[in-house]
Symmetry: C2
Subunit: 494 residues, 2 copies
Amino acid sequence: MTKIRNEGLKNSKVMDIAFHLTELSGPRVTNSPGFMRAANYAKNQLTQWGLVDSKLDAWGDFGKGWELKKSYVAITSPWYRPLIAYPKTWSAGTNGLQSGEVLLISAKDSAELDAYRGKLKGKVLIIDNLINFQQSTQPVGGRYTDEELQKMSEVTEAEDTAAMRRRRERYKDQNIVPREVLTRLKKMAEKEGAIALLSSGTEDHGGTILVLQAGPHKISDPANFLDIAIGLEDYNMIIRILKNNTPVKMDVDVKAKFQTADSRGYNVIAEIPGTDKNLKDQVVMLGAHLDSWPAAVGATDDAAGSCVMMEAIRILKAIGIQPKRTIRIALWSGEEEGLLGSGAYVKKTFGDPVTMKLLPAHDKFSVYFNLDNGTGKIRGIHLQGNEAARKIFEQWFAPFNDLGAKTITIRNTGSTDHISFDVVGLPAFQFIQDPLVSQHSNMDSYDHLMSDDLKQAATIVAAFVYDAAMRDQNFPRKPLPKPLSLDPITGSHR
Amino acid sequence: MTKIRNEGLKNSKVMDIAFHLTELSGPRVTNSPGFMRAANYAKNQLTQWGLVDSKLDAWGDFGKGWELKKSYVAITSPWYRPLIAYPKTWSAGTNGLQSGEVLLISAKDSAELDAYRGKLKGKVLIIDNLINFQQSTQPVGGRYTDEELQKMSEVTEAEDTAAMRRRRERYKDQNIVPREVLTRLKKMAEKEGAIALLSSGTEDHGGTILVLQAGPHKISDPANFLDIAIGLEDYNMIIRILKNNTPVKMDVDVKAKFQTADSRGYNVIAEIPGTDKNLKDQVVMLGAHLDSWPAAVGATDDAAGSCVMMEAIRILKAIGIQPKRTIRIALWSGEEEGLLGSGAYVKKTFGDPVTMKLLPAHDKFSVYFNLDNGTGKIRGIHLQGNEAARKIFEQWFAPFNDLGAKTITIRNTGSTDHISFDVVGLPAFQFIQDPLVSQHSNMDSYDHLMSDDLKQAATIVAAFVYDAAMRDQNFPRKPLPKPLSLDPITGSHR
């Protein structure tokens, strides 16, 4: 533990790893050139550190890669303003510079949308949906207080499930434009030859913009109509000016490049082989997702987790461990589109959550650790309903309590790759991290990574992985779930 | 007071006024088309409300107006990223799309800069100056607590002066590149045919960028080399990639339009004439600055103050006051360049702070109220060293204590237009406002205006102006200052 601490806190390479994964690679949409640069860097770096069988492991059909090659979006009338604007992933381009008026679409349902039929050609579209904004007097990110952590450690599984349901309801409420209207409008727009659709999120502001996808990405899917994410201030402004009967004109020039030569998705996988003759067939895994959304370099989501996991492995190699069990690192792809890379990997390696048909490696699996809640340091771990793991983690955290890490909560936390393991009954855990800002945004940048937090996290992950690899007993498991009993995205019971 | 409250809080037009000054007008750099649209709207609106002699009042030579007509700034290699980027005010354009490599300039002084001579042609320049960034766990804006307000009310003038000096020192420390290096680099860049210089502030982030000026703006000044403000995340990223010996290439296409037909600066001035035969020659003034920096619509700086002052006037006209003294509203220009519009107005109307030669109207002046600290509601007022005003303001605030406004501090507050009056010995006051975000930024947008705060402020200003106009005695004054005894920007003793 002392060696791990020294290597992790005093000789850290975590920010150098992060730099390669982010600013030298670019955005890492699955199957894009940026993703492949980062994946190849990781594969080669892991090999250099002495891991074996480091590879890009094809997990199945993902679809098209997508890369932005040009984006210029500006208001030209009533006065000039270049917009902070990002085409959503898998949007088609404009075929050069297009100029047109903005058309305000006021339609609560498909019937109302019909009023706009035949009027969309050459127009930029915006849906009449002013977003309520209040200047915040709250910090955008922070650190857990002792009280908050205490509460977390005392929550029951029933309370946690109820809270999760409430969060999901709230999330549903945020769908301000009915999906059916949006889909139909995009079809009309495509058919009639509109230029683009402008969209905004409801929460971020000040130039930070969340950018997700314009539509599906399979090779067989048609092109997606150009859907551009802009800031809520600009979105509201355009609507207000139009409602004042003042025309708004825009210039839009977007070029996107689709990668269709290889539609397979790849995870990066590498191993430190186990050395104990009875335990070396057993596997301890650690992972994070390497893919990101495209509007920045996905620094906190989730280069942070990826560089911490790589650094944890580097620490263990640097101090020359001889683990009893095999240690395997996985940097997933397709996470943002629904845990696709980890899900496919688990299915082909350990078992199918739909049929609950399990493979032999399921028996040999020890435990999986995941990190995907931003750049904040580790404060504890979610038991994911596995009460038997509490005592073990208490012991493993003991040497790091002074670094702020000790809280253990029964909570099920969802939305990331440990769920792919959990749904086939394998022990898989996501750490509790300080809630610093982590976003699918245009400003998820290297500078938003907090180096001290990442060093702490890598040190603790290295120790947990070592502890798991050296443990005499097997890691305790929950009862096997029923087929499909968990929602793979939220991790909650359906 | 009840009528003012009802009109101001229940029948407010302040957000409608704000909309006209901001989103319908555009950025309001002095002498730009956006400024003139806002100024003409204000002039006409004040006339419509029944004010007399509403006019654009030429105050002297300002210089060129400036307006952005195109801005496209993107990294094209090692991977594509459109930058959040704004040419600084009075920058020249590029004459179409220019592409070039970014050159890292590492020079602490002019001698070191010589190493780059002859190497700048076709390059985008960036100064090697990584900005330290930490994710904040503090709110970006907030409201004063009772304790903070209490402290403010107890501060002595000596303590206040010392604090002001400390703030000024800190501000000096932030000049990260010596001005001499910057000036010389820009000259070399211009001469050798570089494309642009990239700059970043040290504090804002997440897509919010402060944008000031590239250089001087007099008609006789030469064009300023293109100086582009970008986000600190992008600024740091470019430097890090270059330091990794990876070339960074950029596309830059900037078009700026200079207005040179009329170099005179204009304030908007209008009056409600006094009705008391003994007092009608005396003047109560209220004002704020109408001009802004160009990267957004200057909503909180200072459309907020301008719309509050206009709304205060509207309230007074709506309830049909017959003021004893004349009430005069002024919406200044050239504030951002150094209180130019208010300074020139005071000089031609009341007296010259350099010579302290005073004009007859100096005697007839009552008091001036200013609002220029963002969108936050009024919490009190700065006495500006005028202790005799304390009792008066206590009385005037009494009907509005329930709206959170009552704190009176001896403090001198500077950096805005009341200083132009203060330096010739005229009573002039800036209110204390809740410190919500107010910025010279690309995101100083209409949505960042908080309507409830502006309504409260307009109501209180209307009441103060009414109180001052109706008061039997003259408003107490400080002793006349010595010529030039105050720094016109900071308001502190030199």
